[in-house]
């Protein structure tokens, strides 16, 4: 595994990382039924060499994922199920690698090969929604007969032709031609990670469902999105890194910076900060407490270098293989959480080198998780008042939510969404009211941020449940953050208790929370 750091002036851990990954590359080569390097030396082959098309057919399969989303507006119910078809890449193990956000909330995974309709049940062995990448296992040995991994490129081309492959229903491999436009640092699916990405232009219809992209004889990545005639491809070095990580005892994932920053293109600002004309650097405007470097970096710091790479005033560095790249890539490219990443920092006029310990940041660590998979909404119904924590999926119920959701929730998302708070790890909403005599007068209230219940601050659903166990003088008092439609809601605690079964029956809420 090559990383930008292996090139020259770089710290030991990265070289070690390169070594550690090397055996994987060997495995890949040894498993592949690819033509050996010098086929001419091969003594009198009995069978004809597999054609390039056959090799592709043996390395590419179809993955059908059936899943179901919760209905976040009525959080005890689910929506109609969906089935998505995506392309899988055979990797050593043998397993199937998929780069898609479509693995979230799956109920059933089936795999198909050779473009045939026959389906074999499979299971998800590992998923990292932050990439997003998943590894699929198939227990049926017959499925693997004749399948063989394709080689994963150690580095990706920055230009030139590429082909994009998938199995359509017809049974013949669909191979579209394309051209590499550029290599960049990019995000995939719902992820906030900066990963090595290849943009490929193509005339292929559809796409972005983990199609296999090949240049030369090697896979250069999996397509994760398409816009216009361009597909975004998660580059093979990222896939190699994921596979190596997954082969280890425990999965570490990818690190994220967790910082906000401004560029320093204004020469007056650079001079005012005491930067020399030879220096670049960006200025931190925010350091998330659960991100990499939370204990080391501070807002106002100017980051001059990361891992030995000087940053220019727009946050770009010179990648030894791919040219100018945006610096968050340095947190993922060839590095994994736990590693120390040296940074040169200007703080209060002093230049110093600090070591930032890379951290993985998960969606659920945000105060408003941008996505939620594998679990439904955490909700509670008390006297017909429905409570839930504010999440990305809940906001998504407004469709084009950033233009339609209630303004106070949008303010919460922008101002408080990423910043975790130990006292209030979540934002709790009164999402709606199930009308019943027990809640007379409150039927029209919805989407209000809760401040306290029965005098106790509420920063999680657990806080909320605990607080409802202790009514005040026979009443439940819900205090809402001021400035919304209502400030307080009062329920008779025994009436609310007595109404519970009636409300469940009337609105089809299963017993439980």
């Amino acid at each position: 595994m090559r990383s930008p750091a292996t090139a020259t002036s770089n710290p030991a851990p990265l070289a070690v990382r390169g070594l550690k990954l090397f055996p994987v590359a060997l495995i890949l080569v040894s498993c592949a039924s690819a033509p050996p390097a010098r086929p001419a030396t091969r003594p009198g082959a009995l069978a004809p060499l597999p054609s390039p098309k056959d090799r592709l057919a043996a390395g590419i399969v179809t993955v059908r994922v059936t899943g179901q989303e919760w209905n976040w507006k009525t959080p005890w119910a689910k929506q109609g199920p969906w089935t998505r078809t995506m392309t899988g890449l055979v990797v050593p193990g043998p397993r199937i690698l998929v780069a898609s956000a479509g693995l979230g909330n799956h109920l059933l995974i089936e795999v198909q090969r050779d473009g045939r309709e026959q389906r074999t049940p499979a299971r998800l062995a590992l998923v990292d929604h932050e990439a997003p990448l998943g590894l699929i296992e198939v227990g049926e040995p017959a499925f693997w007969q004749g399948l063989a991994p394709l080689p994963l490129a150690e580095r990706v081309p920055t230009s030139g032709p590429a082909t994009i492959h998938r199995w359509p229903r017809s049974g013949q491999m669909d191979s579209a031609s394309g051209a590499v436009r550029l290599v960049r640092a990019g995000r995939h699916g719902l992820s906030r990670l900066s990963l090595l990405t290849v943009d490929v232009t193509t005339t292929m219809e559809g796409g972005g469902d983990s199609e296999v992209v090949v240049a030369g004889d090697e896979v250069i990545g999996l397509a994760t999105g398409k816009s216009g005639d361009q597909i975004a491809v998660m580059a093979s070095p990222v896939l190699r890194q994921f596979l190596a990580d997954a082969a280890g005892e425990s999965y570490h994932g990818f690190a994220r910076a967790g910082i906000g920053w401004q560029d320093l293109t204004n020469p007056d600002l650079r001079a005012a900060l005491g930067l020399t004309s030879a220096e670049g650097g960006i200025r931190l405007t925010r350091v998330l407490p659960h991100g990499s470097g939370a204990d080391v970096l501070r807002p106002g710091d100017v980051i001059l270098e990361i891992g030995g790479y000087p940053l220019d005033p727009t946050g770009q560095f010179e990648h030894p293989l791919y040219g100018r790249m945006s610096f968050p890539l340095l947190f993922t490219d060839g590095r994994e959480p736990g590693e120390a990443l040296p940074m040169k920092v200007l703080r209060d006029g002093q230049r110093s080198t600090v070591a930032v310990t890379l951290k993985r940041m998960l969606a659920q660590d945000d105060r408003i998780p941008p996505y939620v998979f594998e679990r439904g909404p955490d909700y509670a119904v008390v006297g017909g008042l429905v409570f839930q924590d504010l999440t990305g999926p809940y906001l998504s119920t407004w469709g084009d939510w950033s233009r339609r959701a209630p303004p106070r929730l949008l303010v919460a998302y922008d101002r408080e969404g990423q910043e975790p708070s130990p006292e209030r790890p979540r934002i709790i909403l009164l999402t709606s009211v199930l009308p019943d005599p027990a809640n007379l007068g409150y039927q029209d209230q919805r989407d209000l941020i809760v401040d306290k219940v029965n005098g106790r601050p509420v920063g999680s659903m657990d806080d909320l449940r605990q607080a409802f166990r202790e009514p005040q003088g026979g009443f439940h008092v819900v205090e809402l953050v001021p400035g919304q439609a209502m400030r307080r809601i009062v329920l008779d605690a025994s009436e609310a208790q007595a109404a519970a079964d009636r409300i469940r029956a009337a609105y089809g809420v299963p017993a439980g929370p």
Binding site: Q262, L269, A272, G441, V481, V490
Partner: protein
């Protein structure tokens, strides 16, 4: 649903009632509005028409929205060809009313002022008079009073007063015309819902009288603000929790805005049982004739400075307190603004403005969702969440007029400016002093939240300042 102040259309002429229609006049206005996105600029002149009517003292009553931003106002009698030049004596943007005067004595000759009547009963017949689409003669339509209620006045956007709904056609051009019953004015036609033909609204006489009485000292103070945010006590549980005895009713106080009538007298958690001795129902209404309207109406009827009595349920007993009617000046920043030039400071191409509704409207109609969320929080939520900051004027860097001296500055849309050269901004005027007092080589700006900081070379900024004003055709660098 969108309420629109009326501008133009057609109404069928009906047989006129006895009152003298010649006391109804056409109001012709040439206006020039201000542009909040380029605050030193006025927009091109535009003409519009409305209606008005003569009252005692030779004055003409019309809507504020008819004459807002007027540069010339002409009134024309239906029986004469030549218009008279009128002067806007007073404008009440919070009640969409205005008073005009005409210096030429010929204008009123032979005209009888229209007498003011009362609030008409629901179901009774009314007659509207005015000049829909302009025209030479007064147009009249008949209808019945559909209901009396409290409703928002779209002209200012935040005020609510008594309105009367009628099915008499009220169309653009009718604005400012009288609505009559039995020879008396019972209201001033003013707004309707586009697409709802049989639903017009007029400003009833109590609001008109309040406006006229307010003007008697020669100055318009405006309607008082109770400053109360309340929750109806429709929940029996909530009533019990407040200890309100059976048979008593009212609304519970959620918030008392600093500076309003109730400030210092009413507390959150109090139940307002009666206002001016009139019992408040659990839904917050009081009886007014045969209608029910919000109890806010009783606060609204007072002039600034007048006492109002409030009966509260607090701590298990009833008490009646007296409050002095007050107006909350800072609410101006939440209104649609008319007839005032936007406030701004331009320094070296950086445009600073106070945060107000007009500024947010430059983001488009959906600004509560589409504008910068920090701006939205300050404007809509900060006062309630942090009442101690209620009077803070937020300063916004709204744009950067590019010039070599500032071209490298990063600007990604309007941002809240927290400090300039270390000075925490408490209002727009601080921008001037913060730049002027700086002796360092660089001016430093600090923005709120994660928007970062910026710097400008002071000497170059000073030199560029007059050039930028010239290049961008800005007549003056400030309007404080």
């Amino acid at each position: 649903m969108i309420l629109a102040a009326l501008g133009l259309a057609v109404a069928a002429a009906a047989a006129p009632d006895p009152p003298a229609p010649e006391s109804v006049v056409l109001v012709q206005v040439y206006r020039s509005r201000y542009d909040w996105s380029l605050p030193w600029r006025q927009e091109a002149v535009e003409g519009s028409l409305g209606s008005g009517f003569l009252i005692e003292g030779g004055r003409v009553v019309t809507n504020a929205h008819v004459v807002s931003d007027a540069r010339e106002v002409l009134v024309r009698r239906p029986d004469q060809a030549n218009p008279y030049v009128a002067t806007v004596e007073a404008v009440g943007n919070d009640c969409d009313l205005a008073v005009l005067s005409v210096s030429d004595p010929a204008f009123t000759r032979g005209l009888k002022p229209l007498p003011l009547g009362d609030v008409p009963r629901s179901g009774s017949r009314v007659q509207t008079y005015g000049f829909p689409l302009g025209g030479q003669d007064v147009s009249s339509t008949a209808g019945i009073v559909s209901r009396v209620e409290s409703r928002g006045y779209v002209h200012s956007g935040i005020d609510a007063h008594l309105v009367v709904q009628t099915d008499a056609a009220i169309n653009p051009g009718n604005s400012g015309g009288p609505v009559m019953q039995e020879g008396r004015v019972v209201g001033v036609a003013f707004q309707g819902y586009p697409g709802f033909d049989n639903m017009g609204f007029f400003i009833p006489v109590p609001v008109v009288r309040h406006f006229l009485a307010d003007l008697q000292d020669g100055r318009y103070n405006g309607f008082p603000d109770s400053g109360l945010q309340t929750t109806p006590l429709l929940s029996p549980s909530y009533r019990r929790e407040r200890g309100l005895p059976e048979g008593k009713s009212g609304v519970v106080v959620d918030l008392v805005a600093p500076g309003g009538t109730a400030d210092g007298v009413v507390e959150p958690g109090d139940v307002i049982v009666a206002v001016e001795g009139v019992a408040v129902a659990n839904d917050g209404t009081i009886r007014l004739g045969d209608a029910r309207v919000t109890c806010e109406h009783l606060f609204d009827l007072k002039q600034v400075g007048e006492p109002v009595s409030i009966t509260l349920w607090r701590g298990g007993r009833e008490r009646t307190v007296s409050a002095t009617s007050r107006r909350i000046a800072r609410l101006e920043s939440r209104r649609n603004r008319y007839g005032v030039a936007p406030r701004f400071v331009v320094y070296a191409g950086l445009v600073f403005m106070p945060l107000d509704t007009e500024l947010l409207k430059t983001f488009g109609r959906g600004w509560p969702q589409t504008a910068d969320r920090n701006l939205v929080w300050h404007h809509l939520f900060r006062e309630a969440e942090k009442p101690e900051t209620a009077d803070r004027e937020v300063v916004v860097l709204t744009r950067v007029l590019r010039h070599a001296a500032n071209a490298q500055l990063t600007f990604n849309g309007p941002v809240v400016v927290e400090r300039i050269n270390g000075v925490t901004l408490r209002g727009l005027a601080d921008v001037i002093s913060a730049f002027a007092s700086n002796q360092e080589r660089f001016h430093r700006l600090e923005f709120e939240g994660t928007a970062g900081i910026e710097a400008l070379d002071r000497d170059r900024a000073e030199a560029a300042h007059p050039q930028i004003l010239r290049q961008y055709a800005i007549p003056r660098d400030r309007n404080l």
